[in-house]
């Protein structure tokens, strides 16, 4: 299955600033997914990133707040913009595998102060 390198693993940021999270996959994949996971809660899909087209955002998430880039089939970034303490969470990227399971990055633990 694919291996995903996600960074940074954690960061503490000031409110009002932005953080860009990167995910590098060791193989070419069509779709990459970005999730948010708050402590004790389920994963929430933020958006789906396809190479060569704009990302598709889920209800409650907008491009201005979470801009996504997908420059090629192995790389994607998610930016959390104009951060507030409510954005403190774990952010995960993911790709689907041939057996219908999903492979995840190790996550980025974001704390906004």
């Amino acid at each position: 299955s694919a291996v995903i390198s996600q960074k940074p693993s954690r960061d503490i940021c000031q409110r009002g600033t932005s953080l860009t999270i990167q995910c590098q996959v060791d193989s070419q994949v069509t779709m990459m997914f970005w999730y948010r996971q708050q402590p004790g809660q389920s994963l929430t899909l933020i958006a789906t990133a396809n190479q060569g087209s704009e990302a598709t955002y889920e209800s409650g998430f907008v491009i201005d707040k979470f801009p996504i880039s997908r420059p090629n089939l192995t790389f994607s970034t998610l930016t959390v913009s104009n951060m507030s303490p409510e954005d403190s969470s774990i952010y995960l990227c993911s790709v689907s595998t041939s057996n219908y399971g999903y492979t995840f990055g190790s996550g980025t633990r974001l704390t906004v102060v």
Partner: protein, 113 residues
């Protein structure tokens, strides 16, 4: 309303016993159900997928059952070991949605030596 539920309380099991975790859902018609393991500070790791027309699936010490009448999946770990301690997540894959999963919040499993 639609929801997927896992026991939010931690499950404590003695080493060597069988651990059984439950995933219940309402008002969904899933095409398949997946189980993942998540360790602290890491992304979820795919374990098993079971389709709606399958009753049971096994992989080594793991067994998953899927009862679409009861709207329930059971996840069993036999001969449990302390290394099995983690949070286990279930996720539903729906018909008509190529990629979107509906996630449970997970159950923390603690295997005591």
């Amino acid at each position: 309303s639609q929801k997927i539920e896992q026991n939010s309380e931690a499950l404590n099991i003695q080493e060597g016993k069988t651990a059984t975790l439950t995933c219940n859902y309402t008002n969904y018609s899933p095409a398949y159900l997946q189980w993942y393991r998540q360790d602290p500070g890491r992304g979820p790791v795919f374990l098993l997928l079971i389709r709606e027309n399958e009753k049971e699936k096994r992989k080594e010490r793991l067994k998953v059952t899927f009862d679409t009448t009861l709207k329930q999946s059971l996840f069993h770990i036999t001969a449990s070991q302390p290394a099995d301690s983690a949070t286990y997540l279930c996720a539903l894959g729906l018909y008509g949605s190529n990629y979107q999963l509906i996630w449970g919040a997970g159950t923390k499993l603690i295997i005591k030596p």
